[in-house]
């Protein structure tokens, strides 16, 4: 995961050659990529027949990247099989940036979570630059660009008939070496790199324009702290504690430990939006009332974790807004309070 700090390294190959290389890499890796269906786009397991369906340079898939490293449910004490090597293609930078906080928590040197660590180490992350944006994308407002420069191993862009791979890490460098066994790889021409950069900056401007007036991450914490109880009561009045916002969030990573016979421990993703999250024996529950529960998530993301960790705890992906069945829009809340 060491970043390469020297100058940009762009490699290029023809799209059909890339696809055929992927087909050959399938012998060594489990590969995932975003594939469109009628009403959504999400990660699917890539196999010989669907390689051409993998989408590039599109905004976020439905499922956040975190689920590859923190599955919904996982036995932490019994090793069922060794983790296979994986390649995840097409992750937008909002999700890549979401891994930073997970790394801080799960790779905390005091208590390294080996289940998480193994998955991180065994995964090659091929991020893709966003050349489109969706209604609720607002990464730029939180200082996150719609293309990766770190954390991922490769940043991929498709321009016409060519794929361009920018190397971001040592693991990415090794991937290029492996790729060269299967395809003719050359350096990207300067003109096409410029073309990619133009597309990237166009999207940056578009995201900024789409979100004018939305307070940035420096202001969100103060806004949350100053918000009166009426605000939490008002916005939580439409909340049904379904937990969709947290489940689909790339950075919400709380979990429940479930006991199984023979002292086995199973981790199941959990959220403060579910009942009883902070309940202690005897029944005291600091988050017993719905507005408190609702408010807790905002404080966690915009006040407490920023005081504690270096990484952002909201990457502006907008999934929580899309997933909310009560149509609660956190950006509306921030806009209302910013004025």
């Amino acid at each position: 995961m060491n970043d390469i700090t020297n100058m940009k390294k762009f490699y290029s190959l023809l799209y059909p050659d890339w696809n055929s290389a992927i087909d050959q890499l399938l012998a060594n890796y489990l590969i995932y990529g975003p594939i469109k269906t009628d009403d959504s786009i999400d990660y699917e397991i890539v196999h010989s027949e669907n390689i051409a369906e993998v989408s590039y340079n599109i905004p976020k898939p439905t499922t956040p990247l975190k689920t590859f490293f923190l599955p919904v449910k996982e036995n932490l004490t019994t090793k069922i099989s060794s983790i296979s090597k994986r390649i995840i293609i097409g992750t937008p930078n909002c999700d890549i940036q979401g891994l930073k906080i997970l790394d801080e928590i799960y790779l905390d040197k005091d208590y390294i979570d080996t289940a998480y660590k193994e998955k991180r180490e065994n995964t090659i992350l091929i991020s893709s630059s966003c050349f489109e944006t969706q209604e609720h994308c607002h990464c730029m407002i939180y200082g996150i660009q719609p293309f990766s420069k770190e954390i991922a191993d490769i940043s991929i862009s498709r321009v016409d008939t060519r794929m361009h791979l920018e190397v971001l890490s040592e693991k990415g460098e090794n991937f290029i070496s492996e790729l060269k066994n299967y395809a003719a790889v050359s350096n990207s021409p300067e003109s096409e790199i410029k073309d990619i950069e133009l597309k990237q900056s166009k999207i940056e401007n578009e995201i900024i324009a789409n979100n004018s007036g939305l307070p940035d991450y420096k202001k969100t914490g103060k806004i949350v702290q100053k918000a009166k109880e009426e605000i939490w009561n008002k916005y939580s009045s439409k909340c049904v504690s379904c937990g969709a916002c947290a489940t689909i969030c790339p950075t919400c990573s709380c979990f429940l430990l479930i006991d199984k016979p023979n002292f086995e421990k199973v981790r199941q993703l959990d959220t403060c939006q579910y009942p009883g999250f902070e309940r202690v024996a005897g029944g005291e529950d600091a988050l017993g009332e719905l507005p408190k529960k609702f408010k807790n998530r905002y404080f966690c993301k915009y006040v407490w974790k920023p005081q504690k960790f270096k990484s952002l705890v909201c990457t502006g992906c907008g999934r929580c807004i899309e997933a909310c069945i009560g149509k609660i829009n956190k950006n509306e809340l921030f806009r209302e309070l910013a004025n």
Partner: protein
Amino acid sequence: MSENKNIYKPIKAKLLEVITESPTIKTFIMEPEEEFSFKTGEFIELTVDGIGEAPFTPSSSPLETKQIEVTVMKTGYVTEYLHNMKAGETLGIRGPFGRGYPIEKFYDKEVLILGGGCGFAPIRSLLYNLVAISDKLRKVTLCYGSKTPDECIYQPYVDQLRKTPKFEVLRTVDEPNESWSESVGVATVLLDKVKVDIKNSIAVCCGPPIMMKFGTYKLLEMGYPENDIFLSMEKNMSCGLGKCGHCMMGKYFVCKEGPVFTYDEIKDQPDIWS
């Protein structure tokens, strides 16, 4: 810590003896199958196999490394199962976790301890430790409150402490019976009776949230500086590793940065008393 250690896997511990302390409180004496030690005030996660896991601060001496004791009030799902367990059965232990009492800060000081109910459990561990280093301390006063005389736990240990130089024990109950000869009222009433040189003293508080709250206010009123009041906080500590999020108290993971905090550290965090 080894990078490959499984932080979620408990070590097994044989239950050697179960002592009934009160109608709702029992002490479980265990012998871990692997080497296990803790500092006073740190906590462990105790697993009842296949049932669940719950956090307890050991009530035994941190200087005793072969056996470990926890004192448990029957209040919930896991503790109900635990209370039905018998000597010879096997439990699981993870830990120790968190930050315990900073004993070295107590040197050359008077230590005033306010405890209530099952909060005596971590305090007993602390007292064992303080007795062992009593030459370094000026005085130790325990103010302990419980609901009824029946629920006053650790009677033999209280008798022993009362005979220990430099140690004093004051007790109170909410509902006395005919044979009760000590104080009556909530635990904080005892603070009116203690003579303490506040400038050369630190205070420790551990018990039910309501007692912690009013105990802390009383200690502040007595003149204790906020950073000389050490509170043993109770939250829903689950993983013990600062990961699962259940014990967040504002910016703190109580399991990792606590459970012992000074009042100064936590006074601005939300819901500290619930």
